[in-house]
């Protein structure tokens, strides 16, 4: 029994890393500006909002659910935060907590509808997506909120490492990924999330409080969306009611590209980080090459198909 207890290497999970590496190598050959510290830290910064949203989305997808409302909830959070800090004149930390509070409430709403009323997550979040969008537009009168106090955008500021400027927000994203990775891998609660996605009935029969864990997952996702709202405000310097519309599908794309199965129970949260980086790298690289943005969309679509196929094939081989 010389095998280490915690290393059960899922070879399918290497795919996303290889894809990211391959993309980086390709773009490095196409543009000498690609592989610079400055450019790479720029990409990290560009993906930090979707990156944090994707953590919440990963948790939900691991339980065989899905959240179509994530981007809209994030936008609502950023409007609440920015309006509370400007119009209502609340101190910045209070405004931030209110914003995260609102997104967490939406997470709770989604979770309750899924666990108590037993509605499918797809349907529930389809509904809350529209509700969140409408509330955001109504509360903001469809106007961007500007002239934000400095504290609110603090996470957008940078510090230098060598030639690279790293944003505090990107650092926060990495910390959150490490935290999520730890909880999912090393704690019972994390393993239960996987078990529920893999066989919900089994977890019920062995006595795990399945509904409570599911509710906690949706609420936790809401917290992550709130943090993403803060990062969005920090990056753009405004509260934009039209933000988040593409982030809904972008987050799900990142999770799938990262190797997490939409059927639940399988995947690594770090994979979602790789997923957002892959999209960010392609967007940056294609712009450096002067290629139209339509090709970026095409590439993303092809990658998603490849990612899902690779996952399926690797699992079939394992059996």
């Amino acid at each position: 029994m010389a095998k280490s207890p915690t290393h059960h290497i899922p070879w399918g999970a290497l795919g996303p890393w290889l894809a990211l590496l391959g993309a980086c190598i390709f773009f490095a050959t196409q543009s000498d500006r690609f592989l610079t510290g400055g450019n790479l830290s720029l990409i990290l910064q560009q993906v930090m909002v979707v990156g944090v949203i994707a953590i919440g989305q990963t948790l939900i997808i691991l339980t065989a659910g899905i959240d179509l409302s994530c981007g809209m909830v994030m936008a609502l959070g950023s409007i609440v935060m920015s309006k509370f800090a400007t119009e209502l004149g609340l101190p910045v930390p209070v405004a931030i907590l209110c914003g995260i509070g609102v997104t967490t409430l939406f997470g709770l709403l989604n979770g309750l509808l899924v666990t108590r009323i037993k509605l499918p997550p797809f349907i529930v979040t389809l509904g809350t997506l529209n509700i969140a969008f409408a509330i955001t537009q109504l509360y903001s009168s469809s106007q961007t909120v500007t002239d934000l106090p400095a504290g609110l955008t603090g996470l957008g500021s940078t510090f230098t490492i060598g030639s690279a400027e790293v944003t505090w927000g990107a650092v926060l994203m990495l910390v959150l990924y490490a935290l999520a990775w730890f909880v999912l891998r090393e704690t019972a609660a994390g393993r239960h999330v996987y078990a529920i996605g893999n066989n919900a009935e089994a977890t019920r029969l062995v006595g795990i409080p399945t509904q409570r864990v599911l509710l906690a997952v949706y609420v936790a996702a809401g917290v992550f969306y709130g943090i993403a709202s803060l990062l969005s405000v920090a990056r753009t310097g405004v509260g934009d009611p039209n933000a988040g519309q593409t982030e809904n599908l972008d987050a799900i794309t990142a999770v799938v590209l990262g190797g997490t199965s939409l059927f639940g129970g399988r995947g690594i949260v770090l994979g979602s980080l790789i997923g957002v980086l892959i999209v960010g790298v392609f967007r940056n690289g294609l712009t450096l090459m002067g290629v139209s943005s339509i090709y970026q969309v095409l590439v993303t679509g092809v990658l998603v198909i490849l990612a899902v196929t690779a996952d399926q094939l690797s699992r079939r081989g394992a059996r």
Binding site: M1, P5, H8, N198, L205, V206, G207, I208, R319
Partner: protein, 265 residues
């Protein structure tokens, strides 16, 4: 196998009644499980055997009657209560998470945490200990699976069954209930599971075995509880009765009093 005079009764049920609307599933059924035995529960469809098992494992609450564990009455409101009382059940669909490893499944819901700060504050799992324990348990029961870090879905049907049985045996303190453990298994795998069931009993855990498979029942059971029409028709001694007679009692073709006294157990 031995039939001891004055055997200790581990679990008992008296006059259990369970109705589902117009249908009476249990009609005052009695039940008795003795120490160190494998008790097979057989019966035709609708005879009430699954309802009986559900009542014993806490999955349903009987309308009337009582259940006694080691002589003391117990009331199970849910399967968790039964588990806490030391009764483990191996369900027909196994209740395993296929993508997770064997040792994770063994400890699912009962994970071990690391000692000290890492365990209590950070809630970190003690994977090494769980792995060692799993390996030890499986070796103890002579289950021939090499690595506990394999995913359960990579195992054959029989091996998965062994994992589920080993999990129950590892945590049960009083009784292990098994629902159709050899169904859907081939000859070799079925025998592997039967061997495992015997070892469980030999370690001191009485086993309640529900099965349709008469040859398997006759191979491992010490006594046979025959369920019929929501009641207990008879308890038979497999050594002193033929398979065909047993089936006859089960279907009602033969009544218990038509049997010679030594056939009863």
């Amino acid at each position: 196998m031995n039939i001891v005079a004055n055997p200790k009764i581990v679990m008992q049920a008296k006059g259990l009644v369970k109705r589902y609307g117009q249908v009476t599933a249990l009609d005052g059924v009695d039940f008795e499980l003795r120490e160190g035995e494998i008790l097979a529960v057989i019966g035709d469809n609708g005879a009430g055997k699954s309802s009986l098992i559900k009542a014993l494992s806490g999955a349903t609450i009987p309308d009337e009657g009582e259940i006694l564990l080691d002589g003391a009455p117990v009331h199970f409101r849910n399967p968790l209560d039964a588990r806490r009382a030391g009764i483990e059940t191996v369900y027909q669909d196994l209740a395993v998470a296929p993508a997770m490893t064997i040792y994770e499944n063994l400890f699912l819901g009962r994970e071990l945490r690391r000692p000290g700060f890492l365990g209590s504050v950070l809630r970190m799992l003690d994977k090494k200990k769980m792995l060692l324990e799993s390996t030890a348990r499986m070796q103890d029961l002579k289950v021939g699976i090499q690595s506990m870090t394999q995913a359960v879905e990579t195992l054959s049907g029989g091996q998965r069954q062994c994992v589920a049985v080993a999990r129950s045996a590892a945590f049960a303190r009083h009784v292990v209930i098994m629902d159709e453990p050899t169904a859907a298994l081939g000859v070799k795998e079925g025998n592997m599971v039967l061997e495992l069931i015997r070892r469980v009993r030999d370690r001191g855990l009485p086993v309640v075995l529900i099965s349709h498979n008469m040859p398997h029942v006759f191979e491992v059971a010490d006594r046979i509880h025959v369920a019929r029409l929501g009641k207990r028709a008879a308890v038979l001694n497999p050594k002193k009765i033929s398979m065909s007679d047993t089936v006859a009692v089960m279907t009602g073709a033969m009544t218990p009093d038509q049997l010679p006294p030594e056939a009863h157990a």
